[in-house]
Amino acid sequence: MTNRPRTPGITRRGLMKSAGAIGAAGLILPASYRKAMAEPKRGGTFRIGFGHGNTTDSLNPALWDQAFVQVLGNTMHNYLTVIGPDGQLQPELAESWEASSDAATWTFKLREGVTFHNGKDVVAEDVIASLNHHRGEDSASAAAPIVEAITDIRADGDKVVVITLEAGDADFPFILSDYHLPILPAEDGRIDYTKGIGCGGYILESFEPGVDAHFTRNPDYWKSDHAHFDRVELYAILDSAARQNALITGEVDVIDRPDLNTIHMLERAGANIISVSGTQHYTFVMDSRVAPFSDNNVRMALKYGINRQQLVDTVLSGFGVVGNDHPIGRSNRFHADELEQREFDPDRARYHLQQAGMDSLSVDLSASDAAFSGAVDAAVLFSESAAQAGITVNPVREPSDGYWSNVWMVKPFTAVYWGGRPTEDWMFSTAYAAGAPWNDGFWEHDRFMELLRAARSELDEDLRREMYVEMQQIVRDEGSNIIPMFSNYVMATADNVMTPEQIGSNTTLDGVRATERWWFA
């Protein structure tokens, strides 16, 4: 196993037992250090309260969207690959893989001796059926665009899967860690997700959509040093006050998305706050096809007219970092540290406005709390800072209901939430490539596309870095997204919940693997 929590040679627990006085020393150490040193222990019922969960959730991986179902999927299923706490890709059901020299043909070798909860061996046929669930002309899967590049999947014996892509993609194994792509048992070449069978660390006992899901530990789980709890229970607790009360009164052990405005009260009540900076970011996207946003000077004026630090301090209550108008997070491999951070600068905003031949500018900004929590407030703050540069931004509160179908990518200037992606190529291909279904700025850039294609099949790390840095710069200076802030993943835990030293930053709850990686003191 590769991502097992670091433990020292002598167990600290053993030492602790022998001398009660060392308990006092423990108090002096920072909380995170004490935790990291503790050795994972088996047992207990682990209960998580989510700020998500809807009665329309289902076991169909093609429709999974928010954290509740992502954790559900990662609790009962395994994936071919998994993103480790350090952001590096780790093998899971695929023991190893190799690419052809053009990175267009990938051969995955499956792990021996892994069985599904019904006792069936995990073989190539299951992998093929699980991936095909999202492919094809009439795919109704939210993951269809990310597996679109696959032209052929074939088995080479029971334990080898060969995947052919339409063009080289050096990051392809990352795609296979996407939460939509768990491996389910195949029956006649198709998967039947309704049975709730996977090969993950816990066996699904019951699932009531929008309410709860219960699991028991899988006694035959192939990772002997993972999945430490006897039982796992997931609860949908949409009301944030109810969620915090549930944690304070001991009804659950962990909650995600605590209300940031009242988080100090939660801390006072004895909860631990975990805050991880990752790829999650909030954007204001402009439709680059329509005036005035078709003029890059207008876009630049708006980018200089927003006070990023103020947004981080107020909308995120400090749980985040400022963005630099490109979607690559600081934890990404090829984040461009060398690019200068863009600051609020009314004079430069005015300058760009003049370059665009305008004295003043008035635009409507559509926002709703469906875009991200605090989006309307953020729009109002934007409007105030932009006013100092002579730009009128009218915040328009849109209905949350139907925001993604009727406002986003329909209105010319909207607030948007992005979970981010673990790789640069994935993020850029999803939302910045010309013609991509989620290119919400309808932005097209020839040099950018050239680099995107070249970097994707390039296997030399240094060359790739160079290209991705240039792409970040292009998006920053010419793109149609204002990206003022990256929001941390914030969670709160009861004080007996132990976590490894390093917590995954690719998504919330330790890369939605908390049920597998965490344990009780």
């Binding site: 009665t55 969207d65 939210a142 929008g210 607790i237 006050a241 109810a242 009360n245 009164t249 993604w404």
Partner: protein, 318 residues
């Protein structure tokens, strides 16, 4: 008595018409909402191809009239269809456990609220304008004036954070009645505080209204004790308005408690209804709307039957 049966039959027939009209209105209103199930469930991840596929698979690309009558014929044969979101899961199966929870909470709250409200109503009528009357009134009115979630938060702060009662009313599988009553106590208490004032004030008003009538004056002049005047003579004649207000509040307890469900994480019908509307899961919305409408129809009918039975003048009308 015969005309009571006739009235019940007639009202039930009208009730069916009401349900039919409600189903059309709800279906039409859901159609008018922007977006459909395919867009709602895919959210930000919607691509035109995926939306089209889901629509085709679920038959959402057919005209609304066709879908409505398709649904209606199913219902007439006792088939409420399957949920759009939980493919293959019958709506009835989805709703039944929630319905049980909703009824449990409604009955629990009613069992506390109705006796409390009626007793208080009689007492404040008896001692009207006394200090007791004023305290009872102002307490009940303040409880009803706060928004439900506020009352709920106060109760959580006082009774849950101190560890007396759980803040989440979720029911573990196989909980016995005692455990259920314990876990659902705070939501039931919240609802009790919210509905008591209305019933108490109506009881008080109805009784005080009657106290001005000549026959009460007569009873008093005979030297009857005030409590006997109220319980023996005034109360029976006040049953009709009281039954009506109780019916309205019971219907509210069944249909209108989504806020309390959310705050106490109680899986009832209200939350299911709101979720299903936001995801445009029409079969589920329709089924719940019918249940809610039926609750109103039946409770109003019950109130009317009680009023009729309690009033000899109505009983002996030909």
């Amino acid at each position: 008595m015969a005309h009571v049966w006739r009235m019940i039959a007639q009202r039930l027939a009208f009730g069916l018409v009401t349900l039919f009209v409600v189903s059309i209105i709800i279906f039409g209103a859901t159609e008018l909402l922007p977006g459909d199930f395919a867009q709602a469930v895919l959210g930000q991840a919607a691509t035109p191809e995926a939306v089209a596929t889901i629509r085709r698979e679920l038959g959402l690309d057919r005209p609304w009239a066709v879908r409505y009558f398709d649904w209606l014929f199913g219902v007439l044969q006792g088939d409420f269809g399957t949920s759009l979101a939980q493919r293959g899961r019958p709506v009835t199966d989805m709703i039944l456990s929630r319905l049980g929870n909703t009824f449990f909470l409604a009955i629990y709250a009613a069992a506390m609220a109705v006796p409390l409200a009626l007793t208080l109503g009689v007492l404040v009528a008896l001692w009207r304008n006394s200090l007791f009357d004023r305290i009872a009134n102002s307490t009940a009115l303040s409880a009803i004036s706060f928004p439900e979630f506020f009352v709920a938060y106060i109760l959580i702060f006082v009774l849950a954070q101190s560890g007396y009662f759980p803040s989440m009313a979720r029911m573990p599988a196989g909980a016995d009645l005692g455990e259920k009553l314990y876990r659902a106590f705070l939501p039931a208490l919240t609802l009790t505080l919210v509905v008591t004032a209305h019933m108490m004030r109506m009881t008080r008003a109805a009784i005080i209204n009657l106290l001005a009538s000549p026959y009460i004056e007569m009873a008093r002049l005979k030297g009857m004790r005030p409590s006997r005047v109220i319980i023996r003579h005034a109360l029976p004649n006040a049953i009709a308005p009281i039954a009506n207000v109780v019916a309205i509040n019971l219907a509210y307890l069944i249909t209108g408690v989504v806020v309390v469900e959310v705050v106490f994480v109680y899986p009832g019908l209200g939350q299911l209804m709101v979720d299903s509307v936001s995801r445009r899961d029409i079969p589920v919305v329709q089924a719940i709307a019918l249940i809610f409408a039926a609750a109103y129809v039946l409770l109003n009918l019950t109130a009317d039957v009680i009023s009729t039975l309690s009033n000899p003048r109505l009983m002996h009308r030909t």
